[in-house]
Symmetry: C2
DNA sequence: AATTAGTTGTACTGATCGGTACAGTGAGCC
DNA sequence: GGCTCACTGTACCGATCAGTACAACTAATT
């Protein structure tokens, strides 16, 4: 049987419940640490549903990666309209707020996956693409600043965006294992200072 | 039976072979993706040896974490004698060289683990401690620069060391998923520039 | 009411998981 | 030579893994 897209509201609800449960569990226990059975128990779905909507566990993980990107971007909405230095500050604040609220671990769900997915030929490109999408929003925002004359004309928005992403990921990794947001806070502060070095 | 430290040369060889095989496999496939059986097949040891030297898989992973730290520090030997700006440049070069040689993936073995180990109460503190050890060598080196009058007296070596670690980890994570060392190279360049902002 | 496609429940499979049991073998020490 | 203890080989265990088989149900369409 091939994997199916849900074509009725009922089916969509079931599929979403499975992905939601998987996303939550994998955020905490990792991919390999999250069995299909656990996902189904948590979502209340049965095995036939899971294999009706996904060809195998790998495809479920692919859906989870998409879900993570949605969550991440949804948690930093200002990234879609970045156009000023004040917006950039708001952006770092929104990033911090996510993990201040957090009941769960301080961590980037994509970053958590990155290590485990490793060189899985199907999944690694999806994680890569998710990061690139995230970064491209940032780059677009920085380009907007440049167009507004708030960023030096000879600065490279794409390069600056990558530098910011690096800081975010490094900061989150350290903050994760230290259970201490300070590491992320400092990293964001330094990144912002670095960007301001290109202020017009 | 309790876990035993090897007390004969033969035992030590066996134990090392197990840890080596585990370290190699887990670097590529992750912890959960590396079964005890695979480790034993790769090391040529039998199950009784494994459970003679380690109480369980978790303890094996603990030994692997120690091994990773040894490997990491061994690959950047200048970190033990850091005392000048030239040494810092050498340090970034040594960091890059490890992954230029690499047959395996571009990645920090500890960083790979960080996501998966997550909040495992036994293992997470070990990863944390390994990072702190690594960072403390860096901090000591920066302190040496300060004592030599090459770093501003009001700079905080510990804080600068953490900033550098953040860049290294973020750069490695991005470089990993992109299969492109450039991300690490840029991150190190920016980090070094940041540090030089505190040059005396 | 009959048809049809989308969806679901239950029961199962073979493989692999981490871990154990236990009978040995190796080498140093008296 | 014989004792001791660290070490090793092999066979096994119950649990859990991802994935399958197949019949039954739901709901919209006709």
């Amino acid at each position: 049987m091939e994997a199916q897209a849900a074509s009725t509201p009922r089916g969509k609800r079931t599929r979403d419940a499975i992905v939601d449960a998987a996303a939550g569990l994998m955020y905490v226990d990792g991919v390999a640490g999250t069995s299909v059975d656990k996902v189904l128990a948590a979502s209340g779905a049965g095995k036939s549903q899971m294999y009706h909507y996904f060809k195998n566990k790998e495809q479920l993980v692919a859906a989870v990666i998409d879900r993570y990107l949605e969550q991440i971007l949804g948690n930093q909405p200002v990234i879609f309209t970045l156009a000023s230095w004040a917006d950039l500050e708001t952006w770092t604040e929104q990033l911090l707020d996510v993990h201040r609220r957090a009941g769960g671990p301080i961590a980037c769900p994509l970053g958590n996956l990155a290590g485990e997915v490793g060189d899985n030929p199907k999944l690694a490109p999806l994680v890569d693409q998710a990061y690139r999408t995230w970064e491209s929003h940032l780059a677009r925002g920085l380009k907007a600043l440049q167009d507004n004359g708030e960023l030096a004309a000879d600065a490279d928005p794409a390069r600056l965006a990558q530098a910011a992403m690096t800081s975010v990921q490094g900061g989150l990794l350290l903050a994760h294992i230290r259970h201490d947001l300070t590491a992320l806070q400092d990293a964001l502060g330094i990144a912002l200072a670095y960007l301001r070095g290109f202020k017009r």
